[in-house]
């Protein structure tokens, strides 16, 4: 735990599509790497070395800079038992923390329920994106899901400022709970009023925010800016979530063009976000966890790579003890799992670390068991 008195905040970034672990943290001196990736290998000269074996993709310079300051933990070889090479099922597993059977409750939904059991704050968790990801879904948990912070709200399509403000006034009165109207009706009333209240409070976030950091124009960067705005507004939000659209990093083809472009955007956005928090003396309050559903196949398929297993995840923040965690999976052909890097540490160990050592919570009921924790916090 950190010494600051503010409640710890967790930001989770879901980089959907399965980024290629091998070209993200590159084993640039391993002869097998050069063999498996005749076309798509990252030129060893351009790699940003971590040590004499591995280094960052050159487009990740902003993250490398944070790494050099000791603020980035790289979780190498992260994965889950019996790897499934389906994006959807794999993402379900990451989101529900349940690899054995199909579960419907998200691990962060359960986290929110434990953080705010009496539902005192309608903004304990905020998601940026359309629809609620399963990771934040749990019965009785209300999460604001924001497509666009500047235009978020109830009845946003109404024409005219005056008309809309009258409409919202009527809405609030229509949703006022009526005693004796039944449990379902009262639940709808509460949900409607929570949404209205959440939208009202969230609307204040961009107003109170000013920053010298200029985020990129891409949606991901803008959502990170929104996350900074919400956090800095001091609304008591403890869990913030966003990600790339499904399949964004799914580089079966054209990897040489797409992959560097994506990492450029993501690295800049993350580094801008950190800088923004730092400028506001808030970088000690937030830890960021960034993951993808799995790694990609060792052997390239021409211009791209197919689905694999063991992957890489990242944890950032002032509270993080930077460095390498887990082991870099072996590239020896006989150590591969059907042509993929073997995973060597269960993703729930990273979740447990974040929950226990950062959020100060009991992870067992959320993850359904105990998992070996890392020392990155």
């Amino acid at each position: 735990m950190t010494s600051n008195k503010k409640d710890p905040v967790l930001v989770v970034l879901q980089l959907s599509g399965a980024y290629d672990a091998l070209n993200t943290i590159v084993p640039y001196t391993d002869p097998h790497y050069l063999d498996y990736r005749p076309m798509l290998k990252v030129d060893p000269e351009t790699v940003l070395p971590i040590n004499d074996k591995i280094g960052f993709h050159p487009t990740m310079a902003p993250i490398k800079e944070l790494y050099d300051q000791g603020k980035v933990a790289i979780i190498q070889g992260i994965g889950y038992p019996n790897p499934i090479r389906s994006h959807f099922r794999s993402m379900d597993i990451w989101q529900t923390a349940e690899p054995e059977k199909i579960a419907t409750e998200g691990w962060l939904g359960k986290t929110v329920r434990d953080l705010d059991p009496n539902k005192e704050n309608v903004l304990t968790a905020v998601n940026f994106g359309r629809g609620l990801p399963r990771t934040l879904a749990a019965p009785g948990v209300s999460v604001a899901s924001v497509g666009n912070l500047e235009s978020y709200g109830v009845l946003t399509g109404l024409q005219g400022e005056e008309q809309r403000s009258k409409a919202l006034d009527i809405f609030a009165r229509m949703y006022a709970p009526m005693i004796g109207s039944g449990q379902v009706n009262e639940y709808f009333s509460q949900t409607g009023l929570d949404a209205l209240k959440g939208a009202d409070i969230l609307a204040t976030a961009p107003e109170s925010y000013s920053s010298s950091v200029e985020y990129g124009p891409d949606v991901f960067a803008q959502w990170l800016r929104n996350i900074a705005q919400v956090h800095l507004a001091g609304l008591g939000t403890r869990v913030l979530y966003t990600g790339l659209n499904p399949g964004t990093f799914d580089t079966h083809a054209n990897q040489a063009t797409v992959f560097p472009q994506l990492w450029t955007e993501v690295s800049n956005a993350v580094s801008d976000f950190y800088q923004d928090l730092k400028d506001h003396q808030a970088s000690e309050e937030v830890v960021v966890f960034m993951f993808t559903e799995f790694g990609r196949r060792m052997q390239e398929n021409g211009a791209g790579t197919d689905h694999g297993s063991g992957g890489m995840a990242f944890v950032f923040g002032d509270a993080v003890k930077g460095g390498l965690y887990g082991e870099y999976p072996s590239l020896e052909p006989e150590k591969l799992d059907e042509g993929d890097l073997q995973w060597n540490n269960d993703f729930r160990g990273t979740y447990a670390t974040l929950l226990e050592k950062w959020m100060g919570m009991d992870s067992k009921p959320i993850l359904g068991g105990s998992f070996e924790q890392h020392d990155f916090i």
Partner: protein, 467 residues
């Protein structure tokens, strides 16, 4: 024609279909309630009204259906002239679902869509046989991994627990763990050809095959009966159980009439309307397990007719219902994907339910995120006074005279939206708001937008969340 007849017709059409604009409701009410029930129950008597040759030119992925299956389903909900057929599809998909997140093979899932359209109103026994042979289901519940040397119980268990008997009834269990094993043995050899996952070999449609060499021919004892049962024999035994009659009756009541408790509670929680359930159970046996006959009994029962607004609309019902009301997307144009996406944002992704239990229904459709999506989507659509359905509403209201009182305007809008009912307090607020805008001249330019605004407020009410 009496208002109460149109109101009842609005109720029938919301439940047995996806709602209808007021002109259609009036025309159907004039024909009569029972006549409409019979029409709905016999989709095969009329064309669905879809011009596939035209549609396929716009939506090229609808040719052959390796992609675009959920969007096509959404299109049919909005446009098919056989709405109960589409409603039955949604009903069965909620009970015997397969999920794209595991299959990643919409072409194979499309086979089940077609099967539910073909068999959804027929014999429940036949439907159980069909679903047991459905290649998507065989893969989804791992029956292809069940061998005579080593059974996989996944399908055998869910067939009993979720598709037919239910865990228990009246506080007692309906089957034992032993029955699950014997059931699973009987379904060994019911497998598929062509592996389903797209990776790494590409997407091929899977086909059901019966592998007699992998079928366990031995003697089995299932629900007290003993024999060398194969899958069909198991389904014959299942179909004649009172628990199956109860389970399917309760599902029909829950889906078409009134929200029941969630399914895992059915063992210990008795049905809300025991009389209606009894009618349905009796008809199940009388008709030889016929779903169409059960629905005829249900739609004509007092239990159904008195259950107006006793159900929370699902996202699919919400989106398709609003589209039918406003009359948009009757002709193809680019961008239809957003309609399917809206259902997803509201918590119901067609062909991809969160688990083998399908979707949790009723109040569980609504949370902070989905409520805002639902209200904003509905309000944006009904507030668009260029939509043909909204224009019709405005013209009908204007046809009543050069001026309209704010009371008549509010009541008129409620009627046109399907005879919705709102509490007096809410009605007073809307009337007062309508009055604030000054005298309502139906020939004035601002009449149309004022109607639009009022419709927006009505679809934002709690009451509009219900069907």
């Amino acid at each position: 024609m009496a208002d109460k007849d149109v109101a009842l017709m609005a109720h029938l059409m919301r439940r047995a279909g996806f709602g209808a604009p007021f002109e259609e409701l009036e025309a159907r009410a004039a024909k009569g309630y029972e006549t409409t029930v019979e029409e709905l129950l016999h989709p095969e008597d009329r064309p669905d009204g879809l011009e596939m040759d035209v549609l396929e030119r716009y939506f090229t992925e609808w040719k052959g259906f390796s992609r675009g299956v959920p969007a096509y389903q959404a299109w049919r909900m909005i446009n098919s002239k056989r709405p109960l057929e589409e409603k039955m599809l949604l009903f069965w998909q909620g009970i015997m679902p397969t999920s794209n997140s595991k299959l990643q093979n919409l072409g194979t899932q499309h086979a089940a869509v077609e099967m539910f359209r073909r068999c959804g109103l027929g014999s429940f026994r036949d439907l159980l046989i069909e679903i047991s042979k459905d290649p998507a289901m065989v893969f989804f519940l791992d029956n292809c991994l069940s061998h005579k040397s080593a059974i996989n119980e996944n399908y055998g268990r869910e067939l009993l627990e979720l598709f037919s008997l239910g865990v228990g009834m009246d506080g007692k269990f309906n089957y034992t763990e032993g029955d699950v094993k014997e059931c699973s043995r009987a379904f060994t050899g019911w497998t598929i050809a062509n592996s389903i996952p797209g990776q790494p070999y590409g997407r091929y449609e899977a086909k059901f095959v019966y592998s007699s060499g992998d079928h366990d021919e031995g003697e089995k004892t299932f629900l007290g009966e003993t024999g060398n049962f194969n899958g069909e024999d198991i389904i014959d035994i299942i179909a004649k159980q009172p628990a199956t009659a109860r389970f399917i009756s309760r599902h029909l009541y829950n889906f078409f009439a009134s929200d029941d408790v969630q399914i895992p509670s059915w063992m210990d929680t008795p049905p809300e309307s025991p009389e209606t359930i009894k009618l349905l159970e009796d008809e199940y046996f009388r008709s030889g397990y016929n779903i169409r006959s059960m629905l005829r009994v249900l739609f004509n029962s007092e239990g159904f007719k008195n259950a107006r607004f006793a159900k929370v609309k699902s996202p699919a019902e919400t989106v398709a219902g609003v589209m039918r009301l406003v009359g948009d997307w009757t002709d193809p144009r680019p961008g239809f994907g957003f309609v399917f996406d809206e259902m997803k944002y509201m918590g119901q992704e067609l062909l991809n339910p969160p688990s083998v239990e399908g979707w949790h229904t009723g109040q569980e459709w609504i949370d902070g995120g989905t409520l805002v999506e639902r209200i904003n989507f509905s309000a944006d659509q009904v507030g668009n006074i260029n939509h043909p359905g909204i224009r019709n509403i405005i013209e009908r209201l204007a046809s009543e005279g050069p001026a309209i009182s704010s009371e008549d305007l509010v009541d008129g809008c409620l009627r046109m939206l399907g005879h919705y009912e709102i509490p007096d307090d809410t009605r007073r607020m809307l009337v007062a708001d309508a009055q604030d805008g000054g005298e309502l001249r139906t020939d004035a330019e601002e009449f149309a937008p004022r109607v639009g605004q009022l419709l927006q407020m009505i679809v934002a009410t709690k009451e509009y969340l219900y069907a």
